[in-house]
């Protein structure tokens, strides 16, 4: 399969430089949180000794003058998603291989675009020039990736020699395998793909198992893994900017209600239900705030969606002044999204349950009580029955 690899090296760092051009003159480490751990997501190209996945402590020890910056992952993903969408406008087969790397299927598109060079040029144009994309073209994903590494910023490269000859000088570190396997390859003295290719497949497979067979084929420039196209997800999105940044969650509810009204009044939402709502907001001087609300049953109207979103955000403390908010309804379903019970009493109980749940949200606690016998045998009349909250 004829594949192009569009590679944007150091994408998070380049996006941060766009926000703060002064970072270009300094060394920066982009840090992400995993629970209590802080690890490196990306670093300046000049911080050679820092690699993704490294702990922040180790990274700062290796690069003492580097500035740690908290990752705004939502923003990076959003930017990359936009690029993937634009690539999707050029080819129906686009696969994301992680932040900053995408594979594009080129088969059958020459007639549409005249020639391959024109198509590659258009692919490069889908990425903003400040991100300096590199494009590699070859047969198979792995050779295309290596070709992209060979291309200069804003340029494309296609290997002219045979793929076995082209991949031979590359280090085994470029292989898309676990680092433990790479370490073992080095320990066996197999430092380049050419050295791996010289060995017969039998011993490699015996030593490394299934991974061994794959890396042997990659060492010969053979990658027949299929391109898995992105699933284009239909979604409806609306956003608004606050006149003044908000700090109270009650003001956020008003905004969410407004956005839901806009979305559900859209013709495309008629008779449609959504399973997931995503909220995003720009927080002054901090990473993007995000919240995902999953509806237990798909919702098809504003009131229902607002009720669930409010319940999910109840008691939430915003991380800072929110400058704007966007609401996206995802996983839109077809015309009918709800199945009711056949039995009337079950339906009534479900309706009652929903009504009580709504009251809980608005009142703060369940205001519905039922009379239950507690000590019906008691001689003291007020001990015989009590009011107990009703929870169907």
């Amino acid at each position: 399969m004829h594949v192009a690899c569009v590679l944007i090296d150091h994408l998070p760092f380049k996006l941060e430089v766009r926000r703060d051009p002064g970072l270009r003159k300094r060394r920066a480490i982009i840090v992400q949180r995993h629970g209590s751990r802080r690890t490196v997501l990306d670093a300046s190209p000049s911080a050679n000794s820092v690699s993704p996945g490294m702990s922040l402590q180790e990274a700062l020890a290796r690069c003492k003058d580097a500035v740690p910056i908290e990752a705004d992952s939502a923003s990076y993903e959003q930017e990359f998603s936009t690029i993937l969408l634009r690539l999707g406008n050029r080819s129906p087969v686009v696969e994301s291989a992680g932040l900053g790397c995408a594979y594009v299927g080129l088969d059958g598109l020459q007639d549409t675009y005249g020639n391959e060079e024109r198509l590659i040029e258009l692919l490069l144009q889908t990425v903003p020039s400040y991100l300096e994309p590199q494009t590699g073209v070859s047969e198979g994903k792995f050779p295309a990736y290596l070709a992209a590494l060979s291309a200069g910023p804003g340029r494309a490269y296609r290997p002219t020699q045979s793929l076995t000859e082209y991949v031979a000088p590359w280090s085994v570190d470029v292989l898309p395998i676990e680092w433990e396997v790479k370490a073992r390859l080095h320990s066996f003295g197999l430092d380049t793909l050419g050295q791996v290719a010289e060995r017969p497949i039998g011993p490699i497979q015996a030593q490394f198992g299934k991974v061994g067979a794959r890396l042997w084929r990659l060492a010969h420039g053979i990658d027949d893994t299929p391109l898995v196209p992105q699933r284009v997800e239909e979604e409806m999105k609306e956003s608004l900017t606050f006149v003044a940044p908000i700090v109270e969650v009650t003001a956020l509810f008003v905004a969410v209600d407004n956005l839901l009204g806009r979305i559900f009044s859209h013709a495309k939402m008629r008779g449609r239900y959504s399973r997931v709502a995503s909220l995003e907001g720009t927080v002054y001087n901090k990473p993007t705030w995000q919240r995902r609300v999953i509806f237990k049953t798909p919702v098809g109207n504003r009131r229902q969606a607002l009720f669930v979103i409010k319940a999910s955000l109840e008691g939430l403390a915003l991380p800072g002044p929110l400058e704007d908010v966007s609401l996206t309804l995802r996983e839109l379903t077809g015309e009918s999204g709800q199945q009711e019970s056949l039995f009337r009493d079950v339906r009534q109980r479900q309706q009652l349950s929903q009504a009580i749940a709504q009251l809980k949200v608005s009142q703060g606690s369940n205001p519905i009580y039922q009379v239950r016998e507690v000590e019906p045998w008691s001689r003291i009349p007020e001990r015989r029955v009590a009011l107990v909250t009703y929870d169907p």
Binding site: R372, E382, V388
Partner: protein, 95 residues
């Protein structure tokens, strides 16, 4: 009454019902109610249909000791009152 859901209730989910409320009462010479003050006015007790006494929870510092009277007041209204024999306070019992 709503159907029993069989769900376990928490302590904070229970409220008392039929709690007695204090009521001004005038008594005759044998200690029975002769007038009750209800809804801001004194009502004459036309007859006492029933009377009984309960003594319970003896283990408490203040055991429950009550003398009950079922009274018929103006227009045939039946009201149950009791006197807390410890504090000598009259209450209207809501059943």
């Amino acid at each position: 009454m709503v159907e029993d859901t069989r769900k376990t209730s928490g302590a904070s989910d229970i409220r008392s019902l039929n709690q007695p409320i204090t009521v001004p009462v005038k008594v005759d010479e044998d200690g029975s109610p002769s007038e009750l003050r209800l809804r801001g006015k004194w009502l004459k007790v036309e007859s006492v249909d029933d009377r009984w006494r309960i003594d319970d929870e003896w283990w408490r510092d203040e055991p429950v000791s009550r003398s009950y009277f079922t009274c018929v007041v103006d227009e045939g209204i039946r009201v149950t009152v009791f006197q807390n024999l410890g504090a000598k306070q009259w209450y209207r019992q809501r059943m």
